[in-house]
């Protein structure tokens, strides 16, 4: 039986790609059109600040699916194509240039874009942001051995970038306006560990420091600090957060609240439209609240959820948020989004850069962060999922077999 329906996906990245794949995996035989404004097939963003910036991987190898695989799945990918409007009454979208495409079901996976730094000189050549493959290729082309690189923002992207640029032979300076690193995501103890770790690896970290402006004659030459001091640098990378791309959905009248509001099955307020990935604000049953995530795992798994919902096979999606980051030789992983814990327990030794810190609330793990210890973190995730009662003392004790705690 052929199916004459057309399902359209706006945003050809991780979430959008998984929506398309899921439609096929679930047996959908209609037309699938995946539209994206970038010039590349859906690719992994994590390497952008890591292996791809180092030049260790090719662009092709970051693709989730090669062209042949997409062809085989009969997914029509339209790159370099920006969608300009969604007409919900006509059930059509409009692309740049005015052409319209009719849809039976629509998925919005438009992700997020970087927050721009609104200061003088931010448009000088040499000042970069980091979100896309193009950004990474441009930074790589501008990096020279021995150059001074100014990283604005001491969050995940900034720290990864500082590590990678240091490896590339740059002198990396990180300026962070807050008084600690990654302040929104980790405890003060972990911030301190990060500070020490980066400093030991040659990164010049300056906390409680903003910048006043960028200066240079047709090309970045220095930054000016609020007191008037200047630091010479030839490149700057700004990593001060992202903004969800909600405008299309907003203009079409869908409900927006720090992201496109969806239910646990990735459905928007319009029964024919789903949304997934960095752009959504979704309920998380395990945490008992609504969240918007910027993570690889969420883009994939919510994308799969959205694809199923388009086929009326809706399945609730709720999992413990999980995120990782690679900085120098440290693999950091986080689970949960702990907000109010009453105890922390650190297993392993911070000084040896191999440990995991658990956050406990009423004897139940509410989140954890690990450095070079993904295994104990995984067990922690299971303990958290199962809401198992544990004590800080047993988590800290090296004699405790983590796996054994699961069997309770």
């Amino acid at each position: 039986m052929s199916d004459d329906r057309t399902f359209v996906i706006i945003g050809a990245s991780q979430a959008g790609g998984w929506v398309a794949q899921t439609l096929r995996n679930e047996g959908f035989e209609g037309k699938v059109i995946l539209i994206g404004e970038e010039p590349y097939l859906p690719y992994e963003r994590p390497p952008l600040s890591k292996a791809a910036l180092l030049g260790e991987v090719t662009v092709d190898s970051t693709y989730f699916w090669q062209q042949e695989a997409l062809d085989e799945a009969n997914i029509e990918v339209r790159l370099n194509t920006r969608v300009t409007a969604i007409d919900r009454d006509a059930k059509e979208i409009e692309i740049e240039g005015g052409d319209r495409i009719a849809y039976d079901k629509l998925a919005i996976t438009t992700g997020a874009r970087v927050r721009k730094l609104p200061i003088e000189g931010a448009d000088l050549p040499g000042v970069f942001y980091l979100r896309t493959m193009e950004d990474t290729l441009a930074i790589r082309a501008a990096v020279k051995d021995g150059a001074t690189a100014m990283i604005v923002g001491g969050g995940w992207i900034g720290l990864e970038c500082a590590a990678t640029l240091t490896k590339l032979g740059c002198k990396s300076i990180v300026v962070e306006a807050a008084d600690r690193l990654c302040g929104r995501a980790v405890t003060p103890e972990i911030s301190d560990w990060m500070y020490k770790f980066h400093t030991e690896h040659g990164v010049d970290v300056r906390l409680s420091t903003g910048i006043e402006k960028f200066e240079g004659n047709g090309q970045l030459e220095r930054v000016v600090l609020p007191g008037g001091d200047t630091i010479d640098c030839s490149i700057a990378v700004v990593g001060i957060g992202v903004i969800p791309n909600v405008e299309l959905a907003q203009d079409a009248g869908l409900e927006i609240d720090n992201g496109i509001v969806v239910d646990e099955c990735a459905r928007t307020s319009d029964p024919d439209i789903v949304a997934a990935g960095d752009v959504t604000n979704h309920p998380n049953d395990l945490l008992g609240r609504r969240i918007r995530l910027e993570s690889y795992e969420n883009a994939q798994n919510q994308g799969i959820t959205a694809g199923k919902a388009m086929l009326d096979k809706a399945e609730p999606y709720s999992e413990i948020p999980w995120f990782w980051s690679d900085q120098f030789d440290a693999n950091l992983q986080m689970i949960g989004l702990p907000q109010d814990w009453d105890e922390t327990a650190t297993r392993g030794d911070e000084a040896s850069n191999e440990f995991v810190t658990f956050y406990l609330k009423d004897g139940i793990i509410d989140g954890a962060i690990s450095v070079n210890n993904p295994r104990d973190l995984r067990v922690g995730k299971r303990l958290m999922q199962g809401k198992k009662q544990v004590t800080a003392a047993e988590l800290v004790d090296p004699e405790t077999k983590m796996q054994a705690l699961l069997k309770r």
Partner: protein, 106 residues
Amino acid sequence: MSEIEYHAVAKTDEIMEEDVKGVFVGDEEIAVYNVEGEYYATHGICTHENVGLADGFVEGDLIECPLHSACFEIKTGKAVNPPAEIDLKTYPVKVEGDTIYVGIEK
């Protein structure tokens, strides 16, 4: 037909139940598992990216990759959830006394 040669890779008490250990046979990296007292072996590197599964997490008869959480069936090597799509190679295993042997094609 290619012949299989067995190599001693570990002692049985080195791998607890629901645990995994990474071993090398020549240049081949192999992950050896204990599922309910039976030993199994798969290729040691995730088929998604270049990450050692010995740092992964065994749950029941699945191994979960430590990097992006793909799961594989330990007994068959089948990739059961994304991002991995390619199955893992598996190897025959035999135990003699307290020694675990993994069979590799010559």
